[in-house]
């Protein structure tokens, strides 16, 4: 009896240990690459190329940040990224919220609600390379290539379905009685949406907005094809431009790449609670 109990206790300790060890290893594997790009961004070139590598930036420098953001136009790219992401987010949020509310609250004849919901989600699965050629020709025709508005239009294609579905599920979680009470008190249907449902859905709106910002901030392919000028290119394209066939500007791209990650990490902690719902939809990314 005692030996069995002792053995099972040993087993338990073993399981605990291996679980914590796994967590530790997963953390190291997750964080090391991020640490490495950050560390390299603070090193002089000679230390970046050092063999064996400098595990810590012993001689830290902001040289590459100066190169990237003062001497080169990465600040401009970052600003473009930010403006495009903001524009896309506003458009997607406004229309997505209305559509999400409609799909959550209204009834439509002939099962249309289900059909439309599903169709909206399915547009999200379309590979961007598929729509890029017609969009390119379209933007070319209307003289919109190399503009931020073209990017906002293109990004809306994959952020709008996402916003619609996120907001639909948030509205479905809200009790409908509050809106009904407002309407009994004389508010219109639209007024009930505006004054009752919308304020209650504020956390959902915030999470959706942040996910839209992240998706647009990260986007690469569409921007690569639609924009060629410094005035319109986004940060990912700016970074990719410094990886050339002949030379890679390691320090500069490390600094810019690391700075591109910083807002995302901040956002990640802001939406911790909404991570699963948001990312399972958000992962159908552009």
């Amino acid at each position: 009896m005692t030996t069995i109990r002792a053995r099972s206790r040993t087993r338990e300790v073993f399981i605990h240990l291996s679980a914590y060890l796994t967590i530790f290893v997963a953390l190291v594997l997750t964080l090391f690459p991020i640490y490495w790009i950050a560390a390299n961004s603070f090193k002089f070139d000679i230390d970046i190329f050092a063999v064996p590598p400098e595990w810590l930036p012993w001689h830290p420098t902001l040289k590459h940040y100066d190169e990237a953001f003062i001497q080169r136009p990465f600040l401009r790219y970052a600003l473009n990224s930010f403006l495009v992401a903001m524009g896309t987010t506003i458009v997607s949020l406004v229309f997505g919220t209305m559509a999400g509310y409609a799909l959550a609250r209204f009834s439509y004849p002939w099962e249309w609600r289900k059909q439309i919901s599903f169709w909206i989600l399915s547009t999200r699965m379309m590979p961007p390379i598929v729509s890029i050629i017609p969009l390119y020709l379209f933007f070319n025709y209307f003289d919109m290539l190399n503009t931020k508005s073209a990017l906002i239009v293109a990004y809306t294609a994959f952020n709008l379905p996402f916003a619609t579905w996120m907001m639909k599920s948030y509205f479905q979680d809200l009790p409908v009685e509050l809106e009904e009470a407002a309407m009994v008190d004389g508010d219109t249907r639209w007024g009930a949406f505006l004054h009752v449902a919308l304020p209650l859905a504020r956390p959902g709106l915030a999470a959706t907005a942040i996910f839209c910002l992240i998706i647009s901030w990260n986007e690469f392919l569409l921007s690569l094809i639609i924009t060629l000028t410094e005035q319109s290119q986004t940060l990912p394209i700016g970074i990719a431009g410094r990886v050339t066939q002949y030379k890679t500007y390691w320090g500069e791209i490390s600094a810019a790449g690391f700075m591109a990650c910083v807002p995302i990490v901040i956002f990640a902690f802001m939406v911790q609670k909404h991570l699963v719902r948001g990312l399972s939809l958000g992962a159908i990314k552009g």
């Binding site: 914590y20 967590i23 439509y108 390379i129 379905p161 690469f220 991570l275 699963v276």
Partner: protein, 307 residues
Amino acid sequence: MLKSESGPLTAPLRPGGGLERWAERHLRVLMLAPTVLILLGLTIFPSIYMFYAAVHKISPNPDVPWDFVGPGNFVRLLSDQQFHVALLNTVVFTVSAVTAEFLLGLGLALLLDKYIRRMTFLKTVLMIPMMLPPIAVAITWKIIYEPQFGVLNEIMYRLGLPLQAWAGDVDLAMFSIIVADVWQWTPFIFLLMLAGLASLPVEPYEAAELDGASSWRQFWDLTVPFLKPVIAIALLLRVMDALRLFDLVFILTGGGPADRTKVLSLYIYQVAYRFADVGYAAAISLFVLFVTIVLSTWFMKRMRLAE
């Protein structure tokens, strides 16, 4: 469920201007219309236009009219070696990366479920890779893989293993891309599986425990069936994503060496923008779209995810 069914007619219409009343009465259409119209414009229209482009030979010179070639561009797919290579690479990447991510993510979730459930902060830290810009992930791994001064070769050296060119090596390039993708996306599977495990009912397990079912039996007879919908969603999303891989390849290998990592989206990009053969690129894109639709429909039916 029921609450979402409730219609707009629970309150009487308030008197107001004619337009206002009209808008109020048609609110359910008006609120949905912008989204539907925008998405029609941005997805259905491009798809149709794409089909139109795919049956033409399009000259890079905009003044030259499009030349109708019928199914010519599609026939070309059959004998295009480069296309076959890209297709094969895409399949290899998708199958290997998604399998690895799935096994790792599910394994980690099963092992760590009880330990990590309350550690929200830690969970969020583990989720960081999947939210980072793919371009940042790509350059991070480019630095790690660098053959001369990269940290991976340093580790190989310390372990007494042969140094490799990684992303530059014919045999290892695809593997290098897969590793970077696994690094970024395993957390996604892990997160979804954790959510699935958190929603498992307790009672069946208590009953199984009483019946003396082994934990292996409990896993196969209870956990797997319960998790099936979550697993299906996770796999579907990852497969769709893997089929459109672009950023990692573009930065890490540019499709090389010797076309070993040239995937479909990169090939389409090259055909359209380097060889300026937009009609043919449209044909390949349609092929990708077709495969995506067939796969996702089949998958959803199979997993009974129709709703």
